[in-house]
């Protein structure tokens, strides 16, 4: 799975949780979930669960703690998917 595909999957997950005044175009790799995308912090929990289901991986508490931006999430996903394959 290429990086672009992973980003698109992640973007589709995130867009459900965006406030009404933000469009899907606001989601770029550098976006901060809470500060820029204005996602309710309670929903970060749901985004993590959706990511786990979509990529068949499991995120740990420390992964969640350092998942501040979309890039952070992509990085974690890449590592977990890689670990699964090896």
């Amino acid at each position: 799975m290429g990086e672009e595909t992973k980003f698109h999957i992640l973007r589709d997950i995130i867009k459900v949780y965006l406030p009404e005044d933000l469009s899907v175009d606001a989601i770029v790799p550098t976006s901060n979930f809470l500060d820029e995308l204005n996602i309710n912090s309670a929903h970060l929990v749901d985004i993590v669960l959706d990511v786990e289901d979509a990529f068949d991986i499991q995120l740990e508490n420390e992964d969640m703690d350092r998942m501040q931006t979309v890039n952070d999430a992509l990085d974690i996903i890449a590592k977990k998917v890689q670990a699964k394959l090896t």
């Binding site: 459900v16 949780y17 009404e20 309670a42 929903h43 929990v45 749901d46 669960l49």
Partner: protein
């Protein structure tokens, strides 16, 4: 301060009709919302009929965002939000789209138990050591006040937003609690109502108590028989009813349509003393509740044209009629007209009071008393007290001036509210 309080909006999600139009027609025509439930058959319930609203998936988008619908597994919240938002819009109010809460608007929306299916889902995850997978809405969907929290957020209310709970009295109690808050000048507008979840996990306990009918599984529309000699227990139900209560002053200022006035009423408890218990009413308390309601409303018992009873279709119906008769000091042909909607909607438990209050108030608008079904064989002990002419079998035209509505519940709790036509 004792301000006058009127009803300016109604909403309902009932087993025999979702929305005011369908519900009104169903009550007028005696259309049943009681159906055979294959799920209850699979689970070996004694009673395999129940009354639940038929909510089409495509209407959910009118009430919930796609995000709110994700993982939503609490039927009570679905019913309550439909009824609550409908009542709000029916009152000519809009959802608050500003960042400022509406400080004079509140929500008082009750339930017995909420999000039972969501809770079951969670229990399985927890037991499987998957607590981390519960998601962010498990708490919101299973806390009792979830329903008032959802509605308060959708509407943007800044006054009291809370949930009351008093078993099958909940909805009627809520009308009186909202009335009191407005009358006392603490709020201008209160959305009040109640909801009850569907499903075997809610209804099972009643089946175990053997208070549900077991001989009508093949004839569901005959199963609920208030005031009938062949009543065999109440049919479990679910749904939600809602009304917007408003100070007369606020309603007139807005030019709102007024369905009726709430004159007041009474809430009390039999203390589970005397003949009262956790499940049986103390008749002294029931009569006291009714007579105090009349006193508090500033009317006399002769002013009451119509009663909408609690009348669940158990052997206690005759006791209830006796209590009304004693409290009103009226009997025979002099007794008011009386009806029970439970013949078509079953006993919607925590939602019963609110759905039935909505139906009760609709009678003012329709100029009609909705008929009773399944009591062609009125219980002889009822006929010892009142004339059969007081129990309309079919809906009949009549412009009631004052209607009394009572609900009673486990815990020996009682509520009686007095509605008056508005001219």
């Amino acid at each position: 301060m004792n301000r006058r309080v009127v009803i300016t909006g109604l909403g309902v999600c009932a087993p025999n009709g979702v929305g005011l139009f369908d519900f009104t027609n169903a009550l007028r025509d005696g259309k049943s919302g009681i159906r055979f439930q294959s799920k209850l058959e699979e689970l070996d319930f004694g009673c395999q009929v129940a009354a639940e609203p038929l909510v089409k998936d495509n209407i959910l988008n009118n009430y919930f965002t796609p995000l709110q619908q994700r993982g939503l597994n609490a039927t009570g919240i679905v019913y309550g939000v439909i009824a609550g938002v409908d009542a709000w819009l029916d009152a000519g109010l809009d959802k608050n789209t500003t960042n400022e809460p509406r400080w004079e608007h509140g929500v008082l929306f009750g339930t017995g138990i909420l999000g039972v299916d969501k809770f079951r889902e969670s229990i399985h995850l927890v037991d499987d050591k998957q607590v981390r997978r519960l998601g962010s809405t498990t708490v919101l969907q299973t806390m009792a006040s979830g329903i008032s929290a959802y509605l308060g957020g959708i509407l943007g209310c800044g006054n009291q937003v809370t949930t009351n709970s008093s078993a099958c009295t909940t909805g009627t109690e809520g009308v009186l609690m909202a009335y009191e808050r407005i009358a006392a000048g603490k709020a201008d507008i209160m959305l009040t109502g109640s909801c009850s979840d569907s499903g075997p996990y809610v209804w099972g306990g009643f089946d175990a108590m053997r208070v549900l009918p077991r001989t009508y599984n093949k004839t569901p529309s005959k199963a609920s028989r208030p005031m009938s000699a062949s009543a065999k227990g109440f049919v479990p139900g679910s749904g939600a009813g809602a009304m917007v209560l408003e100070s007369m002053e606020s309603a007139e200022k807005r030019g709102a349509r007024i369905y009726a006035e709430v004159l007041g009423g009474e809430i009390n408890c039999g203390g589970q003393r005397g003949e009262g218990s956790m499940t049986a009413p103390n008749c002294v308390a029931v009569q006291r509740c009714i007579s105090n309601a009349i006193k508090n409303a500033g009317i006399t018992s002769n002013d009451i044209d119509v009663i909408n009873g609690h009348l669940t279709a158990t052997s206690k119906d005759a006791v209830e009629i006796g209590n009304w008769s004693a409290a009103l000091e009226r009997k025979g042909f002099d007794f008011p007209y009386i009806n029970s909607f439970k013949g078509t909607i079953g006993h919607c438990l925590a939602a019963a009071g609110s759905i039935e209050c909505v139906g009760t108030v609709l009678q003012f608008k329709e100029g009609m008393i909705f008929g009773n079904v399944n009591c062609e064989d009125v219980h002889p002990e009822i006929l010892d007290v009142i004339s059969e002419t007081r129990i309309p079998h079919k809906s009949m035209p009549l412009h009631p001036k004052i209607i009394a509505k009572a609900s009673f519940g486990f815990g020996d709790v009682n509520a009686c509210v007095i509605f008056k036509e508005f001219q």
